[in-house]
């Protein structure tokens, strides 16, 4: 199995030589030519040191940001060629983004935060609370529906963000350290949820610093200084994994 696949119809997301540079006096290449493709229904983990460009990559794939060079494609469409409102539409309907910093609305309750994407989707207003309750229960927060973020712990906020990412039944789930603030038990709970999502056929990209967490995925992309250092394939049986470097596939 080749790691840099050609963009086929079953490829949900792909980047080709994507580069994102910040100019702060010195140019900082947050992403320095990343080529990656996520086949439909795949479960990929991203690992790498702090500042290696993981969140930057997530932003590109999440249609929040556009590359300075190279391409980002979603469902066969180049993101750079999409209009502003098309991109917003993709964010609201196809992509579930769990932010590293949660990004919850401070004045809305957990339930309202979860259903916020529905507001911009012209969804019916009835049944929203039930939907929020169902999702929050799924992340273990069935008893925190009416708490605002400031009344929740860090891990609880993270789980509200997770529930929100799933509210519109996204085909692509982008999770930036979804277990970063969780204890082992709750983390395991969330990972079980990701496995369920995977089983449902959604494409998942998950950033993590923990090896055991990453091993729930099918492959691990190792980012170093904005470049893919290695793509590691994992057998579904986690005890038997093999390592392939990107260099071999070029």
């Amino acid at each position: 199995m080749s790691q840099t696949q050609s963009l086929s119809t079953d490829t949900v997301v792909a980047t080709r030589n994507a580069r994102r540079t910040y100019y702060l006096g010195e140019p900082v290449h947050a992403l320095d030519g990343v080529s990656l493709s996520l086949p439909a229904g795949s479960f990929t983990a991203v690992m790498g040191p702090s500042g290696s460009g993981k969140s930057t990559l997530m932003n590109l794939l999440g249609c929040l940001d556009t590359p300075d060079e190279g391409e980002v494609e979603i469902g066969g469409q180049r993101v750079t060629e999409l209009s502003d409102s098309k991109r917003a539409h993709l964010r609201g309907t196809e992509i579930g983004f769990i932010f590293q910093t949660f990004n919850l609305m401070p004045r809305l309750t957990a339930a309202e935060n979860v259903t916020l994407p529905m507001v911009f989707n012209n969804d019916v207003e009835t049944g929203r609370r039930e939907r929020a309750e169902q999702l929050l229960t799924r992340v273990g927060l069935g008893d925190r529906l009416d708490h605002v973020p400031s009344e929740l712990s860090g891990g609880q906020r993270q789980r509200v963000a997770t529930a929100r990412a799933l509210v519109n039944e996204p085909s692509l789930v982008l999770a930036d350290e979804p277990t970063g603030n969780l204890d082992t038990d709750t983390g395991a709970e969330i990972l079980r949820l990701f496995e369920e999502l995977h089983a449902e056929g959604r494409t998942i990209l998950m950033v993590t610093h923990e090896r055991q967490v990453a091993e729930h995925a099918e492959q691990i992309v190792h980012l170093v200084d904005g470049e893919i250092a290695e793509v590691e394939q994992l057998d579904t049986d986690a005890s038997n994994k093999r390592t392939v470097t990107t260099d071999e596939t070029h």
């Binding site: 990004n103 609305m105 911009f120």
Partner: protein
């Protein structure tokens, strides 16, 4: 995004910052309240003065002298220029039924039931000498009794009755005896036969006495000494003739009369039908209302700047929230919608409370002069439209700023 949904979200943003929202709408409330208050006062004054005057059926025409003040038409002056010969000539104009000269007598003091009310120039009350014909005009509304008939009789207006009551002692009623000391030394003993409503008499307490008591004379252009009056009330034979009589009077008075020669250059002879008087008054009132309305409108403008300012602050403050909304799928148009709805709500609330406050203050203010309440529906409509417009205009720029927020940049903010 549905409108109901954006209203709900905007409403939460507004109620989430109660003090700020209140201060914001205050500008609009005050502006609109000012407009409504002045319109209530103006409407009350108009209703009070013109209330039940039937302008189209009155045959009365008044001849007065005006000095041009340049604001709201001329100001009526009391100069004795209409001579006895003018009166005679006017009564011979075809279509004229009667001519009633009118003049004021300078009273020094007035005594009733043992109490004395001091008069003098710039006095709190006035004494008018005229024939009783004037009480047939629509402008004179007898609320009790009848016009004076004999020498020693008089009619007073309601303000005079009120003035008498303020002094204390007996009330002034029909049949009472009034003693008026004139400046020239004469003393009039008059019996009250009738009371006219409070609008009659130029807003002043007034006693109407028979014309015989007036004896001011002037030297006519032809060199004779003749009695002359500061105003004439002419009555046409019927309603259809009012306009022709008016034209004929104008023709004679402006060109051939002694008055035309006796008046000074900056004085004009004004021949007015009741309708003209009403029109002049409403024109004056309209100008006044327009002026005050303009001032109030200016404060509305300031109020709208207040809304815009708060909305801009609010956009800056909520940049991160806008970023979150965009990140989960909000389009530019939807962000614009949210902010516009928010400022629209502020505008509508401002208009609503502004109208309420304006009506309330206007109502209270009306009780001072005792004018009737006339609800200015037209202006309420205008105020609401203006409130909405101000809301939309004030929200446009902040909304546009909000829509431009880059989600990545916004989410970076702590």
């Amino acid at each position: 995004m549905k409108l109901t949904e954006s209203i709900r979200i905007s409403w939460r943003a507004i109620t989430g910052h109660k003090l700020r929202s209140t201060l914001t709408t205050l500008g609009i409330i005050v502006g609109i309240a000012a407009v409504i208050t002045f319109m209530v006062l103006g409407g009350g004054l108009e209703q009070d003065v013109l209330g039940d005057i039937n302008t189209e059926e009155d045959t009365g025409i008044q001849v007065v002298t005006q000095a041009d003040t340049g604001f709201g038409g001329g100001q009526t002056q009391s100069v004795p220029i209409y001579t006895q010969s003018d009166v005679a000539a006017v009564s011979n104009v075809s279509g004229v039924e009667s001519v009633t000269p009118s003049a004021s007598l300078s009273a020094v003091q007035l005594t009733h039931g043992g109490e004395t009310i001091t008069g003098g120039s710039g006095s709190v009350y006035g004494v008018t000498a005229s024939t009783s014909d004037r009480f047939e005009s629509e402008l004179y509304n007898l609320t009790a009794g009848e016009p004076f008939g004999a020498q020693n009789e008089a009619v007073v207006n309601e303000r005079m009755v009120d003035l008498r009551n303020e002094v204390g002692g007996e009330n002034l009623t029909l049949g009472d005896e009034l003693t008026i000391q004139l400046q020239d030394g004469r003393q009039l003993n008059l019996t009250v036969t009738g009371i006219v409503d409070q609008n009659t008499g130029g807003g002043q307490p007034r006693v109407f006495a028979p014309l015989e008591y007036y004896d001011t004379s002037v030297e006519t252009p032809s060199g004779d000494e003749e009695r002359a009056y500061p105003a004439l009330f002419v009555r046409a034979e019927n309603v259809d003739q009012v306009e022709t009589v008016k034209a004929a009077l104008n023709d004679y008075l402006q060109n051939e009369s002694a008055a035309a020669e006796l008046k000074t250059d900056d004085q004009t002879i004004a021949v007015q039908t009741v309708e003209d008087a009403v029109d002049q008054f409403t024109a004056f009132l309209d100008q006044l209302q327009l002026f005050i309305g303009g001032v109030a409108g200016l404060s509305l403008f300031v109020g709208s700047i207040g809304i815009a300012n708060i909305m801009i602050v609010s956009v800056t403050e909520r940049t991160r929230e806008i970023g979150i909304m965009k990140a989960v799928g909000a389009k530019k148009r939807e962000v614009v919608q949210l902010f516009l709805v928010e400022s629209l709500i502020l505008g509508i609330i401002g208009a609503f409370f502004g109208v309420l406050l304006g009506l309330g203050v206007g109502y209270l203010a009306l009780t001072v002069p005792g004018w009737p309440m006339v609800v200015p529906y037209g202006w309420i409509g205008i105020a609401v439209v203006v409130g909405v417009l101000v809301g939309v205009l004030a929200g446009l720029y902040p909304a546009w700023r909000g829509a431009r927020v880059d989600p990545i940049e916004a989410l970076r903010r702590e």
